[in-house]
């Protein structure tokens, strides 16, 4: 029982980061029908910014807003340079464009920085734990869960209660008609990319605090977690993306702690097996999005 509770808390901590990443993916998928395989590049870029600033001796308190800002700006720049040119294209084109962006960004670091791992120091409290009864809880997980909760509430308010959120939802439902109503496509899409960047920035801070290093291909893992979680939750559903993130985090933690040691390093493989099974038995993901397809 205690072990399960322990897993639950660990899983929530891990899942929080995935949920933020997945939500960022889902927001963009909603307005542009683009599944952003370049989402992880926001973390790659942030990682190098963290490396440069922290190795200059800057504190994490200062670097945190810089990282979030970097993610937002990078997200907007990528939209401007690449995605704005393929708006309304087929899924195939959109997917490959984002895949291309992923490669160009990581290749730039490969070309101009280096292929080797760059490490930076992590804040001291990341590894601290405290105990409640027999539970050992990381300070880090507590912070992550708390910040994620606040972020999710804020995002929910933004989307449900503001005119921007209304425009975002209208554009996600029917882009052309939203434009006919005066919704500016640039505003909505850039807003979505900024929001996605903000969410990735927050997730990125935690990701980098835990990793303490970066490489040109660092974006692959967070990208994959984000898109997989969004898919598990049900593509197109914001709630589903968040749920998918937590489910993925929990599944990973549970598997890792339950699998025998000899195969524990293959957790990713087993997680994939579970996901494949999920899609065979529930192909629409956890939350079904009503298809507005007129027949």
């Amino acid at each position: 029982m205690t072990e399960l509770l322990q897993n639950l808390i660990d899983g929530l901590g891990r899942g929080s980061i995935y949920a933020l990443l997945a939500l960022g993916v889902a927001v963009i998928f909603g307005v542009m029908h683009l599944l952003n395989f370049a989402h992880g590049e926001l973390i790659t870029v942030s990682g190098y910014v963290a490396f440069w600033t922290i190795s200059e001796g800057w504190s994490w308190y200062l670097v945190t807003p810089i990282i979030i800002g970097t993610a937002i700006v990078t997200s907007l720049v990528i939209e401007r340079v690449a995605f704005s040119r393929v708006r309304g294209s087929s899924d195939f084109t959109l997917l490959l464009t984002s895949f291309g962006v992923h490669f160009v960004v990581s290749a730039i670091f490969l070309l101009y920085v280096s292929a080797s791992v760059k490490t930076f120091s992590r804040p001291g409290w990341v590894t601290n734990t405290y105990s409640i009864g027999s539970l050992h809880i990381e300070v880090f997980d507590t912070v992550v869960i708390g910040v994620t909760l606040v972020t999710l509430l804020g995002t929910s308010w933004l989307i449900q209660r503001t005119m921007f959120g209304l425009a975002l939802r209208a554009a996600a439902a029917d882009f052309d008609t939203a434009r006919l109503m005066g919704v500016r496509s640039d505003t909505v899409i850039r807003g979505a990319f900024a929001l996605s960047g903000l969410l990735a920035g927050i997730a990125g801070v935690f990701w980098l605090m835990r990793a303490g290093n970066t490489v040109p291909s660092a974006g692959i893992a967070p990208m994959l977690k984000g898109v997989l979680a969004a898919l598990i939750g049900g593509l197109g559903s914001l709630r589903g993306a968040v749920l998918g993130g937590f489910v993925l985090g929990l599944a990973e933690v549970l598997l890792r702690s339950r699998l025998p040691d000899s195969v524990a390093s293959l957790t990713e493989g087993f997680v994939f097996l579970l996901i494949a099974l999920l899609f065979i038995f529930r192909p629409q993901g956890l939350i079904r999005v009503a298809h507005a397809e007129r027949v």
């Binding site: 939802r169 008609t177 006919l180």
Partner: protein, 236 residues
């Protein structure tokens, strides 16, 4: 007010619209009629900025607006009620209206919302209902009210009676009549040529992508070459 000159629009290899000329004066109600595939929807789409014309020009109040984006045109005062109404089904009725008034200030929007509630009581009654649950007639009212929320100076409607039972077609034409009596400028695409000519000041007839005739209802009705445009005339 609106001046369309030699407008041509293509889909790939096909010109859906060729050298179309058209003008709408302030306070006029103008109909666009013609058989299916004649290019009526293409013409409205090209004016509203949903399609980019290959040649020709559109001017509104003397400003060249050819190829402007729909969101810019809306701010200039050109609104379009699209074919099939295109209501946001997952949003509530009130949210649909708010989106329509996105270009207005917060206070103005609230005032317009109130005004639409007075004019379309059924929308006020169902304001918290998801718009997807409205009936055909109700959602057509919502589509028009949503467009009116932007206080357009030129309101274009694409097939407002399409897919509606005859009873509800009456409701739509009554609404057009009301808007007309308020002095609004309207450009309406309609299949139902007979009914349209009863409410329009003038109309244009399109066929195979070209404007083939222009005139008042009685003028057009008397042209024998346009007979097939009116024959049968769904007017029950």
């Amino acid at each position: 007010m609106l001046e369309v000159s030699r407008l041509t629009t293509r889909y790939g290899a096909i010109s859906a619209l060729r050298d179309a000329d058209l003008h709408v004066g302030s306070g006029e109600v103008v109909g666009l009629i013609g058989p299916n595939g004649a290019g009526k929807t293409t013409l409205l789409g090209s004016i509203a900025g949903l399609l980019s014309p290959a040649a020709g020009s559109v001017t509104f109040d003397g400003t060249d607006i050819t190829g402007n984006s729909p969101e810019k045109l809306l701010r200039l005062g050109v609104a379009l009620v699209p074919e099939h109404r295109r209501i946001f089904g997952d949003l509530t009725v009130e949210e649909n209206l708010k989106i329509g008034g996105i270009t207005q200030s917060r206070d103005e929007r609230a005032e317009l919302l109130h005004e639409m509630g007075d004019r379309f009581p059924v929308l006020r009654e169902k304001r918290t209902v998801a718009a997807g649950y409205l009936s055909g007639g109700e959602s057509q009212q919502l589509a028009i009210a949503r467009a009116l929320m932007s206080k357009p100076r030129l309101l274009m409607m694409d097939e407002p009676s399409l897919g509606l039972a005859p009873v509800l077609v009456d409701v739509v034409f009554e609404l057009i009549e009301t808007l007309r009596s308020q002095g609004r400028t309207l450009l309406v695409v309609e299949q139902n040529a007979t009914r349209m000519l009863e409410v329009a000041d003038r109309a244009y007839v399109l066929r195979s992508g070209e404007v083939v005739a222009e005139g008042t209802g009685s003028e057009l009705r008397e042209r024998p070459d346009l007979f097939d445009t009116f024959v049968g005339g769904n007017g029950q």
